[in-house]
C-alpha cells in the first residue's frame, strides 16, 4: 500500500518531532517544515496529499499558507489547522479561506491521526 504524503508545518521542534513520529507510525510519509518559508519551498517542488499546519508560524502563518494554497496554487489539498486554545478568530478565518479541519492545542496525537485519515478518506 502506497503511503500518503503529509506536510507537517510546526515551529515547535519537540511537538513536531512527536507528531512526526506518531504520524509516521500511523502510516504517512511526513515532511517536516519548521516555518512558512519551508512550506512554500516544499510546495513549489511537491504536492502533498494533506497539509497539517500550525496557525502561528514564523515568516508565513497558517492563514497565509491556506490563502497561498487555495488562491495561488489553486489546489484543493486538505488542510488541517493546529491552533492554540482561545484563538477562535483565527480558526474562523482559516475556515473562511478554505481550511478543512482544525485541532486545538494541547494536541492529542491519536486524535490528529484520526482527523488526517478522515480528511484523506473524504478526498
Amino acid at each position: 500500500m502506497v503511503k500518503k504524503n503529509l506536510l507537517l508545518a510546526e515551529d515547535d521542534e519537540l511537538l513536531a518531532s512527536l507528531l512526526d513520529y506518531r504520524l509516521q507510525k500511523g502510516g504517512y510519509n511526513v515532511h517536516l517544515a519548521k516555518d512558512g518559508r519551508d512550506v512554500k519551498e516544499y510546495l513549489k517542488t511537491a504536492t502533498p496529499d494533506i497539509i497539517v499546519s500550525d496557525i502561528m508560524m514564523p515568516y508565513f502563518s497558517g492563514i497565509e499558507l491556506i490563502d497561498y494554497v487555495r488562491n495561488q496554487l489553486n489546489s484543493k489539498i486538505p488542510i488541517i489547522i493546529i491552533s492554540s486554545a482561545g484563538n477562535e478568530e483565527n480558526v474562523l478565518s482559516a475556515f473562511e479561506l478554505g481550511a478543512n479541519d482544525f485541532i486545538s492545542k494541547p494536541v492529542s496525537p491519536s486524535e490528529l491521526l484520526v482527523r488526517v485519515g478522515r480528511e484523506l478518506n473524504k478526498k
Binding site: E13, L18, Y21, R22, P106, V107, S108, E111
Partner: protein, 806 residues
C-alpha cells in the same frame, strides 16, 4: 602675580588609565564569556533535545503489540536513555522536554508522558528541590511535581500549605488541590493564611478542570474561623449550587464582614431563600449603602406584598438617594406601577380620553395647521400656538408621536418665517425675492401663480396627512413663499421690459390685508389683485415699449428690450454668483442695484401710492454705522463721486442732529447740485410732463405717452451726456473692471436704461402730483424699509437653509 598652572602627576594619570582600561577589558571579557556560556549551553540543550526527542516519542507511542523490531528498538533506547540519565545535564534537559511536551499534549499521550517521567525517576530530582532552602527551588519543585501529577508527592507538598513564604505557600495550595480531589477539603480545613482573590480564582480554575470531580459540601467551611475560607466556601457553594446551607447563609447575613455578608445575600437571592427576608429586613438598618442596595435587590426578587410596608418606610425615612430610589423600584417590582413618574411632569396639561378622540392624527395635525394659520392671521400670541400644540401632543398616536412633534416644531419655525414675510408684506406690497435666479423656473412659477392650484393644495393639505403630511405641508408653505415671489417674478417676466424700473412701495397694503381677513377668501382676492397688477403693468409695459421705439439710438444699434432685460438678468446671475462665491465687498451694493432693477416688474397696483424714489445711495448705509468724523469724510467723497441719488440723501442730512454734519451736508449739497445742474432735466420740461399727465384720466394713454416719451428723450439725452463723464451710475462704478470687456456702446446702452428708468419714474411721480415734503417722507420711509428688507433678504436664504436642515 603670575598664576601658575597646577602640577599634574602624569604617572598617576597613567596609572588610572591602565586601571580603567583593565576594568573595561575585564567587563567585556566577562560579558563575552557569559554570553558564550549561555549560547553554548543553549546549543547543548538544543542538541540534547534533538537526541532525546525521538527517544521520548518512541517511549510515548510504544505499544506492547509492536513488532519484534520495534520491541528491540524500544529496549535499545531504554538502555541508551539510562546511560544518558546518569548525567545531571541530560536529566535536566529531559525534565525540561517532558514539562514542555505536557503542555502541548493531551489525552493518552499526556498520561504516558506522566508515566515516563516517573519511570525515568525524574520526580526524585523534584523532591530534592523541595528540601532546598531556596524558596524559588522549592516552588519550582512543587510546580514540577504538580504538573507531572506525581501523586506520591501529595503528602510532601501539603505540608507547605501554611508555609511562611508566600510563593511556596500559594504553589503548595494549588498543587495540593491539583494532585488529589480531597486536596480542596484539606486545604480549606488547614489553611490559616488569607486566600487572595487571585488565588481563589486559580483554585476554582483547578477545580473546574477536574474530571469526575465530586465537590465536597462546602457548607462545612461556613463555620471556619478563617474569613477567607468562609468567603471562598460561599463562592464555591454558589458555583456548585449547593443550596443545603440556607440557615448558615441566613446567619452569615449578620456577619460583621461586609464581603461575607454581601456574598451570603447573593447566595440567598440566587437560591431563593424566602425565609431569609426577615433577617434581611432586620439587618437593613445597620448596613452600609452597598449592602442596603443588595438587600433591596434581593427583596425585589423574593419579596411579597407584606414587605411593601417595610419598603414604604425606607422610602419615607431613608436619606440616601440611591437607597430610596432602589426602594421605590423594589416596590414597583413587587407591586407594579405603585410609584409613577412625577418629575418634570406638566400638571397643567389636561389629559383627555384618547379613545374618545380617535380621530385621525392627520386631521388633528391639519387642525393644528389651520389653527396656526388662523392665529397667524388673527395675530394671536405665540403662547397660544404652543398651548395648542401641547394639547394635541397629548392625543397623538405614539407610533407617529416623534414624527408629528418634529413636524409641529418645524412648522412653527416655518410659520415664524412666514410671519416675518407677512410683516414685511404689511409694509411692502410684495416679497422682494427678485434677487433669486428664477428665470429658469418660468413654467413652474407660472403654474404656481395659478390661484386655483393654490386653492386645491389648501384643500388637499387638510385631507392628506399622516406620513406624507409633513412633505405636503412643507411644499404648500414653500409654494406660499414662492407665490409671493412668483407674483412678482412672473409679472416681471411678462413685462420684462420693466425689470429695470425702480423698487416701489405700496402704502395701501394694510387696507388690502384687512379686506382679505374680512372676506376670508384670500385666494379669490389674490386673483383679483393679480389681475389688477397685470392690467397696470401692461400699461407701464406699453409705455416703456413705445418709449423704446422712440429711443434716440438707432434701431440697428439698439438691442431689443428683451435683450436689455436679459442683460439685466445676466447681471442678476452675476450678482447671485458673486454673492454665493464669497465675501465680495461690493456685493451688497451690487445686490441692492440688482434688486432695484428687478423690482421694476413689481410695479405698484395703486398709482396714488407710489412714493418718490430717487435711487439708493450707498452712502446711506455707511452713514448709519460711522461716527461724525467718518461722516464728514464721507461727505467729501459724496462730492467726488456722487450723483442725483446723493442729492436726495444729502437733503435728508440737512436735518441731522449733528450740526457739523448738517452744515457740511448743506455745503456739499450745493456743490453737488451745481455740478449736476447743467445736466439735470429742465424744470419746465418736467412741469409740462406733469400737466400733460394730469390732463388725462389714464396717465398711460397713448397720446400722453408720446408726449412723455418725447420729453423723456430730451432728458435722457441730458443724462447720457452726464454719464459720458462718469459712464455709469455710482452703484455700478465698481463693475468697471468686470465690464471692461464690453464695448462702450454696450456700456452706453446699459447706462441709458438705468437712467431712463429713473426719469420715467420721475414722470410717474410728477403725474401723481406728490409734493416735495411727501417725497422726502417717503424717501425716509423707503430708506428704513429698504435697510431692514435688505438685511432680512440677505439672511433669508441662510435662514431657510438652516430651518430646512433642522
Amino acid at each position: 602675580m603670575l598664576i601658575s598652572a597646577p602640577k599634574i602627576h602624569t604617572d598617576l594619570l597613567w596609572d588610572l588609565t591602565i586601571l580603567f582600561s583593565g576594568l573595561g577589558i575585564l567587563f567585556f571579557a566577562f560579558v563575552f564569556i557569559f554570553r558564550n556560556r549561555l549560547s553554548a549551553k543553549r546549543s547543548k540543550v538544543s542538541h540534547q533535545k534533538k537526541i532525546l526527542a525521538p527517544i521520548i516519542s518512541n517511549f510515548l507511542f510504544y505499544e506492547t503489540d509492536s513488532t519484534k523490531e520495534e520491541n528491540y528498538e524500544y529496549i535499545k533506547l531504554k538502555i541508551e536513555i539510562r546511560d544518558l540519565l546518569k548525567s545531571p545535564f541530560s536529566r535536566l534537559v529531559l525534565t525540561e522536554i517532558l514539562l514542555d511536551l505536557q503542555k502541548d499534549l493531551s489525552g493518552d499521550s499526556r498520561n504516558r508522558l506522566y508515566k515516563l517521567y516517573q519511570d525515568l525517576e525524574l520526580h526524585l530530582d523534584a523532591f530534592k528541590k523541595l528540601k532546598s532552602w531556596r524558596w524559588e527551588l522549592v516552588s519550582k519543585g512543587i510546580l514540577e511535581l504538580a504538573q507531572m501529577r506525581v501523586l506520591v508527592a501529595y503528602g510532601f507538598i501539603k505540608k507547605f500549605i501554611n508555609d511562611k513564604r508566600g510563593v511556596v505557600r500559594k504553589q503548595a495550595q494549588i498543587a495540593t488541590v491539583t494532585l488529589k480531589h480531597e486536596g480542596i477539603a484539606y486545604f480549606l480545613d488547614t489553611t490559616r493564611y488569607g486566600i487572595s482573590e487571585w488565588q481563589q480564582l486559580k483554585l476554582l480554575d483547578v477545580l473546574r478542570n477536574f474530571e469526575d470531580f465530586s465537590p465536597p459540601r462546602f457548607k462545612a467551611w461556613l463555620t471556619s474561623k478563617n474569613r477567607d475560607v468562609v468567603l471562598f466556601a460561599l463562592r464555591l457553594i454558589k458555583h456548585y449550587n449547593q443550596n443545603d446551607a440556607n440557615k448558615s447563609m441566613i446567619e452569615l447575613v449578620k456577619h460583621r464582614n461586609d464581603q461575607i455578608k454581601s456574598e451570603a445575600i447573593q447566595c440567598i437571592k440566587d437560591f431563593g431563600v424566602f425565609e431569609a427576608l426577615y433577617t434581611l429586613k432586620s439587618v437593613f438598618r445597620n448596613s452600609k449603602v452597598d449592602i442596603k442596595l443588595q438587600i433591596l435587590d434581593t427583596i425585589s426578587s423574593l419579596g411579597k406584598e407584606e414587605d411593601l410596608e417595610f419598603l414604604q418606610t425606607i422610602v419615607n425615612k431613608e436619606s440616601n438617594f440611591l437607597v430610596k430610589s432602589k426602594a421605590i423600584s423594589t416596590i414597583n417590582a413587587i407591586a407594579p406601577e405603585t410609584f409613577i413618574p412625577t418629575e418634570g411632569i406638566d400638571k397643567n396639561i389636561a389629559t383627555k380620553n384618547f379613545e374618545n378622540n380617535v380621530e385621525d392624527n392627520s386631521t388633528q395635525l391639519s387642525e393644528v395647521m389651520n389653527n396656526n394659520e388662523l392665529n397667524k392671521d388673527d395675530g394671536l400670541p405665540a403662547s397660544d400656538h404652543e398651548e395648542d400644540t401641547l394639547d394635541i401632543q397629548d392625543h397623538l398616536d405614539p407610533e407617529f408621536e416623534d414624527e408629528i412633534i418634529f413636524d409641529l416644531c418645524f412648522m412653527e419655525e416655518l410659520d415664524d418665517i412666514l410671519t416675518e414675510f407677512n410683516e414685511l408684506d404689511k409694509e411692502v406690497d410684495y416679497l422682494p425675492l427678485n434677487f433669486l435666479p428664477l428665470v429658469s423656473e418660468e413654467e413652474e412659477l407660472k403654474s404656481n401663480t395659478d390661484p386655483k392650484t393654490d386653492e386645491n393644495s389648501d384643500v388637499e393639505r387638510k385631507e392628506i396627512l399622516k406620513e406624507e403630511s409633513f412633505k405636503e405641508e412643507l411644499e404648500a408653505i414653500l409654494d406660499k413663499i414662492k407665490t409671493h415671489n412668483t407674483d412678482n417674478v412672473v409679472e416681471g417676466e411678462k413685462d420684462s421690459d420693466l425689470e429695470f424700473l425702480p423698487f416701489v412701495v405700496e402704502t395701501n397694503v394694510e387696507e388690502k390685508s384687512e379686506d382679505l381677513v374680512e372676506t376670508d377668501n384670500e385666494n379669490i382676492l389674490a386673483i383679483e389683485v393679480n389681475e389688477e397688477e397685470v392690467i397696470q403693468e401692461e400699461g407701464i409695459a406699453n409705455l416703456h415699449k413705445k418709449f423704446l421705439e422712440v429711443d434716440c439710438l438707432p434701431k440697428q444699434e439698439l438691442e431689443s428690450s428683451d435683450t436689455i432685460a436679459q442683460k439685466s438678468m445676466d447681471w442678476m446671475a452675476y450678482v447671485n454668483e458673486s454673492q454665493g462665491s464669497g465675501n465680495n465687498p461690493q456685493s451688497t451694493a451690487l445686490d441692492e442695484s440688482a434688486r432695484y432693477d428687478n423690482s421694476a416688474g413689481d410695479d405698484n397696483k395703486d398709482d396714488n401710492s407710489i412714493p418718490a424714489f430717487y435711487g439708493f445711495s450707498i452712502f446711506q448705509e455707511l452713514f448709519r454705522t460711522c461716527d461724525t468724523e467718518s461722516k464728514l469724510i464721507l461727505l467729501d467723497e459724496i462730492l467726488a463721486v456722487g450723483d442725483e441719488k446723493e442729492v436726495h440723501f444729502l437733503k435728508t442730512l440737512l436735518d441731522d442732529r449733528n450740526k457739523k454734519v448738517s452744515a457740511k451736508a448743506e455745503l456739499i449739497l450745493k456743490e453737488l447740485q451745481n455740478l449736476l445742474t447743467p445736466e439735470m432735466p429742465d424744470e419746465t420740461t418736467m412741469e409740462q410732463i406733469t400737466t400733460n399727465a394730469q390732463g388725462v384720466e389714464n396717465p398711460y394713454s397713448n397720446e400722453e405717452e408720446v408726449n412723455v416719451i418725447s420729453s423723456l428723450n430730451k432728458s435722457s439725452e441730458g443724462f447720457t451726456d452726464i454719464k459720458e463723464e462718469n459712464m455709469m451710475p455710482l452703484e455700478y462704478c465698481f463693475l468697471d473692471d468686470s465690464t471692461s470687456e464690453h464695448d462702450n456702446y454696450q456700456k452706453h446702452l446699459f447706462e441709458l436704461d438705468f437712467e431712463l428708468m429713473d426719469t420715467a419714474l420721475e414722470v410717474i411721480k410728477t403725474g401723481l402730483q406728490l409734493d416735495e415734503t411727501e417725497k422726502e417722507e417717503n424717501d425716509k420711509e423707503e430708506d428704513i424699509i429698504f435697510g431692514s428688507l435688505l438685511r432680512n433678504l440677505i439672511l433669508l436664504p441662510k435662514k431657510l437653509k438652516e430651518k430646512f436642515n433642522g
